[in-house]
């Protein structure tokens, strides 16, 4: 064929399967530790985890977080400690979803869900207040009218999301090093990278299958 080989190639592609994901109708599964819209978590007894320390606001490179702490009212405490987050606002016109606030938080109060499809039409809506960020009484993130929540967007939003050892230290894995949360309790630990890799090696015959298995999970 020589010069005409290219024509064969392009013609054959007509009968190949399509690789397109028809985005708004069907969505690709998101990675487990996807950085999306934040949630403010609560303990299993309903107390808020935020203590109003402002570390998140301090570390934020985009300066999108505004926090004011206040002393807990003695008769009806909001959080287990001395103080609680009285004002908590995140401006999503500025947020870059770097997750540094999640890293900085000492009480695992702020974490990120996998939701990234939210489109507001005015600046007021862009600034999420404490009431909007806080999980509801069942421990689910509040679903605002302009947000497109899909199946799985709110799973693994807890402190579990940051529970991988720095530089992948295998010794860190398999231990529960995070607190429980409302509605979900204490999320179980992962097997750990070493155990996972061993299990994977036993189960997978070839490298190609390994890739599909991981993406399917």
């Amino acid at each position: 064929m020589g010069y005409l080989d290219g024509f064969k190639v392009t013609f054959k592609q007509i009968f190949e399967p399509r690789v397109t994901t028809e985005y708004p109708d069907e969505k690709r599964e998101k990675p487990e530790r996807f950085h999306g819209r934040h949630v403010l978590n609560r303990y299993e007894d309903g107390m808020e985890k935020c203590i109003g320390c402002e570390l998140c606001a301090g570390v934020c490179p985009a300066r999108c977080i505004y926090v004011r702490g206040a002393d807990n009212p003695p008769d009806a405490p909001v959080s287990p400690g001395e103080r609680y987050g009285f004002v908590y606002e995140i401006n999503y016109l500025r947020c870059i979803h770097c997750d540094l606030c999640v890293e900085a938080c000492p009480t695992e109060a702020i974490t990120e869900s996998k939701l990234f499809e939210f489109s507001f039409t005015n600046r007021q809506d862009a600034i999420y207040t404490r009431d909007e960020l806080l999980v509801d009484d069942d421990g689910h993130p509040r679903k605002l009218p302009w947000e497109d929540w899909r199946e799985g967007d709110e799973t693994n939003t807890s402190a579990w999301v940051r529970a991988t050892a720095p530089s992948g230290d295998a010794g860190f894995e398999g231990k529960v090093a995070w607190s429980g949360e409302l509605g979900r309790g204490v999320v179980a630990a992962e097997q750990g990278q070493v155990a996972e890799a061993a299990a994977a090696k036993a189960a997978r015959p070839s490298k190609k299958v390994a890739r599909t298995r991981r993406s399917a999970k």
Partner: protein, 405 residues
């Protein structure tokens, strides 16, 4: 000869029939462009494992309509440095020839409206295919003036490329057309189609495939289709000659481009594949020629999309090389060979002698051409060797040399 519509002189019915035909052709072209854009996008996405437009209408078939509507409502920009009058004129100089050149394409046999017999083609002028060549020459003005009047460097460069390309490929195209004209003995498209009655009378077979291939390549270049679309080489020239155009004026260029694709495909079908010729069955006899014509047309539209999906863009000097050094000599030689064989048949000469003589002359010509080209390159190289004292101008010289050669 000519259209039997005018045999009895002009009366109101004749004028009305002509008007009707004009409207039908106009609407057909607009709809054809709409479908062609959609077809191209769909087929090319098939070839790239994508889905393509699928939102507007069933299978996205109304996508072009949506895009067109959007273009209508966009701001019509007029650059400060533009030559205003020419800038406004250029899109029409591009669009009108595109519309007009379809007028001579026969899309069916003969029909009878209100007692008047008429061909299923808008016009059958005695100059026929010359009209096509004339119109495609006028289209060059549209491109050229658009680039020149934009007052910007990229459109100007794009326009220079476009006009050089269109002018040089017109020669090869005209020589290929001349072969078809020679075999029919007439310039009229209706007569050319009539002369190709029967599969083996089709010019693609009876003339050998060479004029067909040359015409296909030259017409692709003439219509600025990929792989010859370096007029619009995005990497180098942004949008080429229509960089500064927006809104409806841009839409007109776009329209003209796709209309040219449709017209060129129709001309390939007319000149080399017997136009609407094909088996006619007793059921609806006037319908079949139209069906055959459109089937052939779609095949060529598909081929154009296929070319676009497959071939990378030519470099400018390669384009000029192909046009001047290959296509023109080949089609000129083939035209002479066809003419010699034709005369030989009339004069009862031995076909073998004519063929051998023709091929010998062709080989001689080819050798002379190759030698001349090599000589030209050698001179140039020696020249640059002699001038090697200061700055080297050899960077630009290969392409210039080849363009001249």
């Amino acid at each position: 000869m000519g259209d039997p519509l005018y045999i009895d002189g002009l009366d109101l019915a004749v004028v009305l029939i002509v008007f009707l035909k004009v409207i039908v052709v106009f609407v057909f072209l607009l709809v054809a462009v709409m479908l062609m854009v959609w077809f191209e996008r769909k087929v090319i996405s098939d070839m790239q494992n994508r889905i393509g437009p699928n939102r507007a209408g069933p299978w996205g078939i109304l996508q072009t309509l949506a895009d067109g509507t959007k273009l209508f409502f966009k701001e019509d920009l007029l650059p400060d440095k533009a030559d205003r009058r020419v800038f406004r004129l250029a899109p029409y100089l591009s669009t009108l020839p595109a519309f007009a050149s379809f007028a001579i394409v026969p899309i069916g046999g003969t029909i009878s409206i209100a007692g008047h017999e008429t061909y299923l083609q808008l016009a059958d002028p005695p100059i026929g295919v010359l009209f096509l060549l004339a119109m495609s020459s006028i289209a060059v003005y549209g491109v050229m003036l658009a680039g020149w009047s934009s007052g910007s460097k990229y459109p100007l460069l794009g326009a220079v490329r476009a006009s050089a390309q269109m002018v040089s490929y017109e020669a090869a195209m005209a020589l290929a057309v001349a072969a078809a004209v020679l075999s029919a003995g007439s310039l009229s498209t209706h007569d050319i189609v009539a002369a190709q009655d029967g599969l083996f009378q089709w010019n693609i077979f009876s003339l050998g495939v060479v004029p067909f291939v040359v015409f296909l390549i030259a017409a692709t270049a003439e219509a600025n289709r990929p792989p010859f679309d370096l007029v619009e080489a995005e990497q180098e020239l942004v949008g080429g000659f229509h960089t500064e155009y927006s809104s409806i004026r841009f839409a007109l260029f776009f329209l003209a481009e796709f209309m040219n694709t449709v017209t060129i495909s129709a001309m390939v079908v007319t000149l080399f594949l017997g136009g609407p010729n094909g088996p006619v069955f007793s059921f609806l006899p006037t319908l079949w020629p139209i069906v055959w014509f459109f089937l052939k047309l779609v095949v060529f539209l598909f081929i154009y999309v296929w070319l676009r999906a497959t071939l990378p863009r030519f470099r400018y000097d390669q384009l000029m090389d192909l046009g001047w050094k290959k296509l023109i000599p080949v089609s000129l030689f083939w035209l002479l060979l066809v003419a010699a064989l034709r005369i030989g048949r009339l004069e009862d000469w031995n076909v073998g002698f004519v063929l051998a003589g023709g091929l010998a002359v062709g080989a001689l010509g080819w050798w002379a051409l190759a030698a001349a080209l090599r000589l030209g390159q050698m001179d140039d190289a020696e020249l640059s060797d002699a001038q090697l004292s200061g700055e080297s101008s050899s960077g630009a010289s290969p392409s210039e040399r080849e363009v001249v050669g």
